[in-house]
């Protein structure tokens, strides 16, 4: 088990290292001078532009040797300094991101967990009932083929614009100031629901299909046939099959994290939900590269952390990782 975690952690550390390096390299190795690119494309007041240039020069330190620049970059990173936002100049990127992260997590975590849970349940049910199989399965394929933003757009249009049941944009009502009140909480929930639903539905389709296929596959496994040969009731066989099918579904969850995050980003953009996706859109429109790079690092860190959590869960439900009998699962 120790070896398993060591191996996993090794990969995550290496991945983080690679991600930071990419983050550092891209502005420096893309054609053109990054400082000039940023300045020319950012529409700033003249005095702001001046302090901006001074700041950029010091941050990039292009007159220093590359290895020095690289080390400085890491130094800043470890101090939590991701630079200063151009869009919200002169606020530090870290702060801007930290304010947005709770909103993204509030969408992403429940949507991911609930869709995974519900998808697995429905998928397993579909594997045993013909009529469910004939309804859930095609629906699942349509949902999983739907671009996240399109479902978000449709929901926003139908339930926000046409019927007016839900608000179309924002994280809470503009008429309210954040406070610990029931009214504010209600407003938060009201604004949260549609983006959540849209994320949930797309992800749900994928999990349901995956589970259905895995259960059918497990029911054809040798251990299932052996149990049936010994007269074990269908219930026991299905229980084993479901549990064993959860393992690849869990790995699937780890591998889908990036896609889910991407889904959350575009969903937030549709609903102008004040999470990381909204920041990304603003960063792109305002040529705010520091903000974009900061969001990139946050996403990477988040995905790696979630991966590690999933690894821990995996160890709990797959005995083979605990006994150290399994070689390569990475």
């Amino acid at each position: 088990m120790r070896q398993y975690f060591q191996r996993k952690l090794g990969i995550y550390v290496l991945t983080f290292f690679v991600a930071v390096t990419i983050d550092w390299m891209i502005p420096r190795f893309m054609p053109g001078d990054p400082v000039q690119t940023m300045l020319s494309r950012a529409s700033l007041r003249p005095e702001a532009a001046q302090s901006m240039q001074a700041y950029l020069n010091s941050v990039f330190g292009l007159d220093m040797p590359l290895w020095r620049q690289y080390l400085n970059f890491w130094g800043g990173l470890l101090r939590g300094d991701l630079g200063i936002s151009v869009w919200l100049f002169p606020q530090p990127v870290t702060g801007v991101i930290l304010r947005a992260v709770p909103y993204t997590l509030a969408l992403l975590v429940p949507a991911t967990l609930l869709s995974w849970w519900a998808g697995n349940k429905f998928g397993a049910l579909a594997a045993r009932r013909k009529w469910l199989d004939n309804t859930v399965l095609p629906l699942g394929y349509v949902l999983t083929a739907t671009p996240y933003m399109w479902l978000a757009i449709l929901l926003a249009w139908l339930f926000g614009s046409v019927t007016g049941w839900f608000p179309l944009s924002g994280g809470y009502s503009f008429s309210l100031a954040p406070a610990w009140s029931l009214e504010f909480a209600g407003s938060l929930f009201w604004h949260w629901f549609l983006p959540f639903l849209s994320l949930f539905l797309v992800a749900f389709g994928g999990w349901a299909i995956g589970m259905r296929n895995m259960v059918i596959y497990e029911l054809e496994a040798d251990y299932a046939h052996y149990l049936e040969s010994l007269g074990a009731p269908r219930r026991l066989v299905r229980r084993y099959a479901f549990r064993n099918a959860l393992l690849p579904q869990l790995t699937g969850l780890a591998l889908q994290l990036g896609v889910l995050v991407a889904g959350a980003l575009v969903t937030e953009i549709v609903f102008s939900y004040p999470g990381l996706g909204y920041l990304v859109l603003q960063a792109v429109n305002n040529q705010d590269f520091f903000l974009l790079q900061g969001v990139f690092l946050f996403i990477v860190i988040g995905v790696l952390a979630a991966n590690f959590l999933i690894d821990i869960v995996y160890v709990v439900i797959d005995p083979r990782t605990r006994t150290g009998m399994r070689g390569d699962t990475a």
Binding site: M30, W150, P248, G252, V295
Partner: protein, 314 residues
């Protein structure tokens, strides 16, 4: 590698593909079909495959012919603004008086281009790495496997975000190439796992004894034995590339000139089509993507049934 472990590898590797749809191919290496005739026989009779193929082919025709039906470009301001669908403008017009139908058909072209190019490149890289790692084994495998795992964990979209942001001029082709460069890992893993199991088989040994080189063995002996799997992986990669490109375009990092379906949705949201109820602006692009990708996934289920005798319904 023994049977159960191989199964595990595959089951683990495939869900990384476009969500869920991929697990259908997790059932392990598909035995080589017993001849072209039989495959065709089952293929023609498989409703999922035929229906999926028909939808995709339909969109392909629209993409090929559609742009020829209009004499203006997709971004030209040709009509009155914000018009619902009419005889003159089949899909209506945008806030700026652009022809949505023209945008849609041109956008379809970009979609197919990204899918073929991005998916194809990812498939090539995945196969190259998977075959090499699986066949060579040892240190080569260790290194390539590590590389695969790292790329697998890095959120693809996040990387594409910063790469695209720093590009001053963006086109569909570079976009497809970047997508191809980042979405290969699950293919590499699956191919590696299958190559592992195939390389110890008798016919591979025989080829090795008769003096065939590594590349020849992979191309002539190993790859043909997993051709059906590779075909299905290619389809999933195509769908994945299309969805990824749409996401990127929607964020505003799509092609700087020209049009794509993701960009259409981006513009629609940006210019308040939702609030204005201009459904004809944002429904077609999303519907197009969903229909194409969905049909591809359903085609894949059909293909799985065709290639895998166990799944054929009697």
């Amino acid at each position: 590698m023994s049977g159960p472990e191989l199964k595990e590898e595959l089951a683990v590797a495939t869900p990384a593909a476009p969500p869920g749809a991929a697990t259908a191919v997790a059932a392990g290496p598909v035995p080589r079909a017993r001849g072209r005739g039989e495959v065709l026989y089952f293929a023609r009779r498989n409703r999922k495959l035929v229906a999926g193929l028909a939808v995709v082919a339909g969109f392909l025709v629209v993409a090929a012919v559609g742009p020829l039906l209009t004499d203006h470009g997709p971004n030209d301001y040709v009509g009155p603004p914000s018009q619902p669908p009419s005889a003159d403008f089949w899909f209506g017009t945008t806030t700026f008086g652009q022809d949505v139908f023209a945008q849609f058909t041109h956008g379809l072209r970009s979609t197919f281009l990204v899918g073929v190019l991005g998916g194809g490149l990812a498939g090539l890289i995945g196969m190259l790495i998977g075959f090499t790692a699986g066949y060579r084994g040892g240190v080569v495998d260790e290194v390539l496997n590590m590389l695969t795992n790292v790329v697998l964990v890095i959120p693809t979209l996040a990387v594409l975000l910063i790469v695209a942001a720093y590009l001053r001029v963006r086109g569909v082709v570079p976009e497809a190439i970047f997508i191809g460069l980042t979405s290969w890992p699950w293919v590499a893993r699956a191919v590696r796992a299958q190559t592992f199991s195939l390389r110890t088989r008798d016919f591979v040994d025989l080829a090795r004894l008769s003096g065939a080189g590594g590349r020849a063995i992979i191309v002539r002996e190993i790859a043909p034995n997993m051709s059906s799997y590779l075909l299905m992986s290619g389809i999933l990669l195509f769908g994945g590339a299309v969805l990824l490109a749409a996401t990127l375009d929607f964020i505003g990092l799509g092609p700087t000139s020209g049009i794509s379906l993701g960009l259409m949705m981006n513009n629609a949201v940006l210019w308040s089509a939702l609030q204005l109820g201009m459904w004809w602006w944002f429904v077609p692009p999303g519907l197009g993507i969903t229909a194409i990708v969905g049909s591809l996934y359903i085609m894949n289920v059909g293909l799985d049934e065709v290639f895998n005798p166990k799944l054929r319904k009697l």
